[in-house]
Amino acid sequence: MLDRDEDILKAAEDWQKAGHGVALATVVETWGSAPRPAGSSLVINDDGTFLGSVSGGCVEGAVVTEAMDVIETGKPKMLEFGVADETAWNVGLSCGGTIRVFVEKVG
């Protein structure tokens, strides 16, 4: 029942209206001791500025990189991060969890 993501979605709207390309990344699934619950989000704009989080800071860099691609193509992506998933991603969650992050373009 908590809603602490207010400024994130507001920023997404404001940035888009100001003419930026904007992407929204949302945690949609977690396994193990993932640091942020499903529904947590990160907003990214085309100059690399971001707000919010989808993990404790472990995978945000990779999400921002992917988000740039999503802003460019307009096609949503599903990303998966986890400690045991080294072949797909080099950035893992040090806490031992796995998360799936949905990245979509705004606008």
Partner: protein, 233 residues
Amino acid sequence: MKLETLHELNAERAARRPVILVTDTESGEQRLVKARDFAKDPLRAELEKQLRTGKSGNVEAGGKKLFLNVYAPTAKMVIVGAVHISQALAPMARSLGYDVTVVDPRTAFASPERFPDVPLIAEWPDVALPPLNIDHYTAFVALTHDPKIDDPALLHAFERDCFYIGALGSRKTHAKRGDRLRAQGAKDSDIARIHAPVGLAIGAVSPSEIAVSIMAEITAVLRLPPKEKEEAA
């Protein structure tokens, strides 16, 4: 996400109205469902469950994988009565994520020394309560034990349809309170909404234990499905 969807989502959240954003995670298709439209939605049961638990999650429907992202307003708690129980209840509610306000016109009770870090309003309910924008997402607790303060406060809570309304007092005190409130225009259905004696029956003795029983009862009302809620009460 379409800009108009984002705009509508932000407007609903600013108005403290719960919504769920349904996303098909394969196609990226989305729709925003307002809580008042849940009843006529094909995903009704899933939407209601996710909102009640306040958790976002995935469901499969019609061969589609859907992510249900819950946007519910931050719950408020308004405590009328800056009494000993409130000194334990206010910080407890804050740790559970509630925005807490304590109201008591008696300045000897409503002092910052007794309530560090909690917004305190040392005014009568008719002055203090209207600006708080009390709504459905508010747990309302009347603890002064003084009809002059608790009664008008409870009438305000009925009007605002708080999800939880509790009032301190024995069954006997509560029966008298019911008579007084009815005389001031409250309906039987309003009186029936008051949890009194306040809190779950856990044999609480100290003010802090009573605070625990109140907080547990509020949590049960917030989270349990209607049937189990009746059994817990």
